[in-house]
């Protein structure tokens, strides 16, 4: 097999060769017959006009016969040669067909195509790219399903146990407590489902076009929505000076920022949360800083490691020092992580306001559009 050669070149070569052989054989036969007839004619020149006519007919007949006969015999042979040659040339294509046909839906390993002809190689490459894409999507899906079932199990267990406690309670205040806890659990499960849908949409969003947009309106919108909860929690929300133009998706960035603000609001017991927007070279820096409980510097590495690994859900609210609050869905950081991934950004954890609490810094590529 001619490794990596062009299929077209091989077919043209084989066909030309076959036609040339038949043509040469025909020419040789015709030449011999003509030579023989002409010699006979010269040795015994015709004497009469009728004899002359006879000889001429014989000569042209012989030439025509020798032109036709090899062709008639060789044509089926030529066809046979072509069938074999074409079949031989198309073998890589057949192998590819067999490989694709025999695949189970979830076998997405790349097709081996090192010796494929030049015409098929791009097809194999595209197919392998497609397989890799589907594989990524499937893995995301699996990860999501596993995360979802894992994340839902604990609130479901809590709901069931609280309901059973309420049923078995003989004390009215205990029953009331268990019932109100069930309501809290339902709110939490609702929030969790909303967060999971956001994550699922994020996974489906891959490759969506990013637009040039300003960060400030996004921060203003998020803070406006969180204002009520912040007042209830006795926490001050501050938006610092500054703005930056980034390449992004407004809805996704909003969802990311809301998760960061919610996390600071609900899990750190902060009195102040400050959002800052700045530019550092070709990166826009979005900072959410609080003065709450924070995450000890020694344990930030652990958070970042889990963040980079990007395996299962990495809830900021199960991070050391942040009690698993009843309103935390545990998917917050997963959402933040996916949004940052989609924007080609990075995340950094620092000390928060006045060295207390936590500051989450998100760096995003700035937009060069004006």
């Amino acid at each position: 097999m001619m490794a990596g050669k062009s299929l077209r070149a091989r077919l043209v070569l084989l066909t030309t060769l076959a036609v040339a052989i038949v043509w040469l054989v025909t020419a040789a036969f015709t030449w011999r017959a003509a030579l023989h007839e002409i010699e006979e004619l010269l040795n015994h020149p015709p004497t009469t006009a009728s004899h002359m006519e006879e000889e001429r007919a014989e000569l042209t007949g012989e030439i025509a016969k020798h032109l036709l006969m090899p062709m008639l015999i060789a044509l089926p042979g030529l066809a046979l040669v072509l069938v074999v040659a074409v079949g031989f040339s198309l073998r890589p294509l057949q192998r590819l067909t067999r490989d694709v046909a025999s695949r189970a839906a979830d076998r997405l390993t790349p097709i081996a195509g090192t010796d494929a002809p030049r015409e098929i190689a791009p097809l194999i490459e595209r197919l392998n790219e497609l397989f890799a894409g589907i594989d990524r999507a499937l893995q995301n899906e699996r990860r999501f399903t596993a995360d979802a079932s894992h994340e839902l199990r604990t609130p479901l267990a809590a709901l069931k146990a609280q309901a059973q406690v309420a049923l078995a309670a003989t004390d009215e205040t205990k029953r009331q407590h268990a019932l109100s806890q069930i309501l809290v659990g339902c709110d939490r499960a609702t929030h969790l489902v909303a967060q999971m849908l956001t994550l699922a949409r994020l996974d489906a969003n891959q490759g969506q076009a990013l637009q040039s947009l300003r960060l400030r309106p996004i921060a203003e919108e998020v803070l406006a929505v969180s204002a009520g909860e912040a007042i209830d929690a006795g926490c001050e929300l501050i938006l610092g000076e500054g703005d930056a133009l980034v390449l992004g998706d407004a809805a996704l960035l909003q969802s990311m920022l809301r998760n960061l603000v919610d996390n600071a609001l609900r899990h750190s017991a902060a009195r102040q949360i400050e959002i800052g927007i700045a530019c550092e070279g070709n990166r826009a820096v979005l900072t959410v800083a609080d003065d709450g409980r924070g995450v000890p510097a020694a344990e930030r590495g652990q958070v970042m490691q889990r963040f980079r690994r990007g395996t299962s859900a990495v809830p900021l609210d199960t991070v050391p020092g942040r009690g698993h609050n009843s309103s935390g869905s545990g998917l917050g950081l997963s959402i933040v992580q996916r949004v940052i991934e989609l924007h080609g950004g990075s995340l950094q954890l620092d000390d928060g306001i006045d060295g207390r609490g936590l500051a989450v810094r998100v760096r995003l590529p700035v937009s060069t559009a004006t």
Binding site: K160, A178, G185, T318, G323
Partner: protein, 221 residues
């Protein structure tokens, strides 16, 4: 029985604490692995209900640490991951039993009873001693075949004594069994409950060993 509950989820922990108390246990609830270690090092528990996904220190690590110290108290693990691998990992790390979330509170209590029974070397589900029988599943106590109505604390105290008939338990040990953290312990609470129990079960159901403690006699062979 005094149970250590290790669960980081506020809602589930609250429910489990209430559910275990309903089953007559004294419950200490801690929310992370480090606090679980401290509690296990300082207090005497009959069993541990341990969630695996914990902040600060993983449940599996807590369990390994406990077994490395040759502590044999029964441990029931709660896990949100239901893959066989996770269950094998938990059991191999030294767990006695496991439940996958979401679980039934009744099943949790039944499994705990079974673990406590085995830990106490009692093959039969119903504990028996001289003239007494106690069924941890139904919490029914019979004295000379007659059903006796006991308060939660009286029941817990009798349960502790009947777990090991013939072995004396000191007042301090009994207090450990009866009270979780933060519960007010009356200075002579144990004496008062013993007094009530003797009134209900018969004067010689529980004997006092002066300077040692209290004991329920083994069933006569």
């Amino acid at each position: 029985m005094r149970i250590l509950l290790v669960e980081d989820d506020a809602l589930l922990g609250d429910a489990l604490e209430a559910g275990l108390k309903q089953a007559g246990h004294a419950v200490d609830w801690v929310r992370d692995g480090i606090r679980a270690d401290t509690a296990l090092a300082t207090e005497d528990y009959a069993a541990v209900v341990l969630d695996l996904g914990l902040p600060r220190k993983d449940g599996i690590e807590v369990l390994r640490g406990l077994r490395a110290k040759k502590r044999s108290l029964p441990v029931l693990i709660l896990t949100a991951r239901d893959t066989v691998d996770d269950r094998i990992k938990g059991l191999d790390a030294g767990a006695d039993d496991y439940l996958v979330k979401p679980f039934d509170l009744g099943e949790l209590n039944a499994r705990l009873r079974a673990l406590l029974r085995r830990a106490g070397g009692q093959p039969a589900p119903v504990l028996t001693a001289a003239g007494l029988s106690l069924d941890p599943a139904t919490r029914r106590v019979l004295a000379q075949g007659q059903e006796v109505d006991l308060s939660a604390k009286e029941y817990a105290l009798l349960h502790a004594l009947m777990q090991h008939p013939g072995r004396a338990l000191s007042r301090a040990q009994l207090e450990q069994h009866l009270y979780a953290w933060g519960e007010e312990i009356g200075s002579n609470a144990v004496e008062v409950y013993i007094h009530h129990l003797r009134r209900k079960l018969g004067a010689d159901a529980i004997r006092t060993l002066r300077g040692i403690g209290y004991v329920v006699a083994k069933e006569a062979p």
